[in-house]
Symmetry: C2
DNA sequence: CAGAATCCACCAGGATACTG
DNA sequence: CAGTATCCTGGTGGATTCTG
């Protein structure tokens, strides 16, 4: 197994949670499992952009962190099912909130995130921000 | 400026939110600013384990993503103040929830996260999980 | 005080091929 | 079907130094 060379950071609740949720696909994994997508093959179908390898890695971490549990049925063909632990369930409000927030602000976020990528005019970006933030402020 | 070589992933609300919150210190930065810690020097004091450089980088991203705004007072000595935008405010319930969740489960999480580091006996870890999850389940 | 410039170690995550 | 082994690249974040 692997031993980290850089120690993990401080012990603020934020960091602990971050540690659990940190991984490109972890929120999606939790979300999928919460939706009843339990079997690895189905999970892969649900997240086609992720590799088997990485999904397995992150599932393993989620398991080690006590938020999902894994049940292996020794049949043929082999069957495996993941599910949320109570601790994992307690995380779902946060996951859902993150999902909603992202969806609610999608048009703005997509614009502003993409612009960060394509080194475009800062002024234009700022204008977009101001425009949107006005709207938010009014709501 | 820098052009990303790897395109950013899909457009699910979860990913958008992740993009905004992704950065070792971003949740803490938002939290600190929400608490009224506005000036860079104070922010650094609040997060002593982070480098000026990285804090600046992540603040800039938060700004570009429209969740914080930066006000420069052209005085001497130079004064700068960050604050949450309305969009950033709308993120605070999530930040707070993450903070609470981490704090609420700290004893368990600390144990289970640390053990991941020091490649210790899996059986022991599992025992710890089971023990804790029992408690959670009962609550 | 605020922050840009350099340099670099680390490691997360993708591609691919393989085992049971 | 589920999972592992190997290899490799991009980019995050730390250390340090320098400017206004």
């Amino acid at each position: 197994m692997y031993i980290r060379k850089i120690p993990l950071p401080l012990h603020c609740g934020l960091h602990l949670t971050r540690e659990v949720l940190n991984g490109k696909w972890k929120p999606n994994l939790l979300f999928a499992i919460a939706e009843g997508i339990k079997r690895p093959s189905d999970i892969q179908k649900a997240l086609p952009d992720a590799t088997k390898r990485v999904l397995n890695l992150q599932l393993k971490e989620l398991e080690e962190h006590g938020v999902v549990s894994k049940k292996v049925y020794h049949e043929l063909p082999l069957r495996v099912e993941y599910s949320l632990t109570p601790l994992g369930e307690s995380l779902m409000p946060i996951i859902d909130a993150m999902n909603c927030w992202g969806d609610a602000h999608r048009p703005f976020l997509e614009r502003v995130i993409m612009q960060g990528e394509s080194e475009s005019v800062t002024a234009e970006r700022k204008a977009a921000c101001v425009y949107y933030l006005d709207k938010v402020g009014v709501e």
